[in-house]
Amino acid sequence: MSSENLIELDDLLDNPTPRVPVSLCLDCSGSMSGQPIQELNEGVAAFYSAINNDEIARYSAEISIVTFGPVQLETDFQTLSTQSCPPVLKANGNTPMGEAVQLSLDTLERRKQEYQTNGVDYYQPWLVLMTDGSPYGGSISLLNEQVNRVARLVEDKKLTVFPIGIGDGANMEVLNRFSPGRSALKLQGLNFSDFFAWLSKSVSKVSQSTPGDAIKLDVEGIKGWAEL
């Protein structure tokens, strides 16, 4: 004897998908001209494509891109179901890293406020900071402020940060200051594609986590794109 249902699917509510906000803060200064910016563009495009093809991450991951220098918000936070194509990044200008990180964090805070106002759940935000050089052309005191701001957020478990150096000119000492407890990593050559593939899988994992889950990064996978 088949049982009847007490309610049907039409009776159920649709809640907003919990979001994973990911801020990419990318050095697009003059030194990134030529092959580096081309590889970066291809890596970001591959990242968008991988997220777009993931059933859950497509509605969960929200990506914002800030480039420097000059400091620009290329894309504000939105899911790939509404913006499936990445911007095309161009190399130009200096490396005002402090100003760029400030814009990334301010944009993240604003987005979190919007989630809270609209009753949308969200996971711990991610900040990916990539540079091929040293900070130049921006305010040193602002850079120090943003370093402290990021470090505090990481220590309070309010942010996950991935500082990544590109090439031999990358100032790893500055990048390490952004990452208390975990050393900054250097990309193997211009292997943006493998890094962004790893990032998309990591984001997908977060978007499927449930209360109590500790997110364990794929450390083995890191060996595929980082110099360790």
Binding site: S3, I7, E8, Y122, V206, S209, T210, P211, G212
Partner: protein, 237 residues
Amino acid sequence: MSDGAGSAQFSHFGARLVAERASIMIARELKKLLSLSNEKDRISNWLISGLQKELLELSKRGVQATSSDRARLALPSISEQPRITCDLKALSSTLVLVATLKDKYITFHIGDGVIGIENAYHGVRHEVRVASDPDNGEFANETHFVTSKDAAAHMRVSIGSLDHPVRPVTGFVLMSDGPEASLYYKPTHTLAPACVKLIAACRELPHEKMQPQLTSTLKNVIAKKTGDDCSLILMAR
């Protein structure tokens, strides 16, 4: 009800202990608890310390992990090691509980999940509202558990009266975070009107019809909207 934390190895054992022991503890002291409406902190501390003591004893004594648990976690076989000891954290679970006695009720809630309360208006119209919201912390994959260090501070206790001249309490709905996904609307902290239908069914149908229909509803309707496991308790008068 108690929902085990997804990533905690033996949270199903923790959840079972919490559900059973909390029910027994509260049933024994219910009359006294209902008179302590100004001492909710004391009530929380009493319940949490009692449950954590039992959970700690279980963690040291060891759980009787099943063959499938052992295969999943690459643990020794039952004959090699009948009981598996663990950290307290491995037994993490939430708690959602309602108890009534005569004209009073008390609710206990730590973690996610929802408690809904139904009132009747002028004996005719029923409406359900949230008595206790999910408590997820800032992030979607965070919540509080009975095993958490600050569990007592995050335990929400409320005591109320079932009788009211205009809008008496006529039912409760308790749900874990699985059904919460489709019966509780997060932006407005409200419950689906479907909860009234569910409580009405509990009130009207005999047990032998209600139970299989509730099972079918959970399996074939509510579970379709979530990847999580689903628990639902209905109380009606």
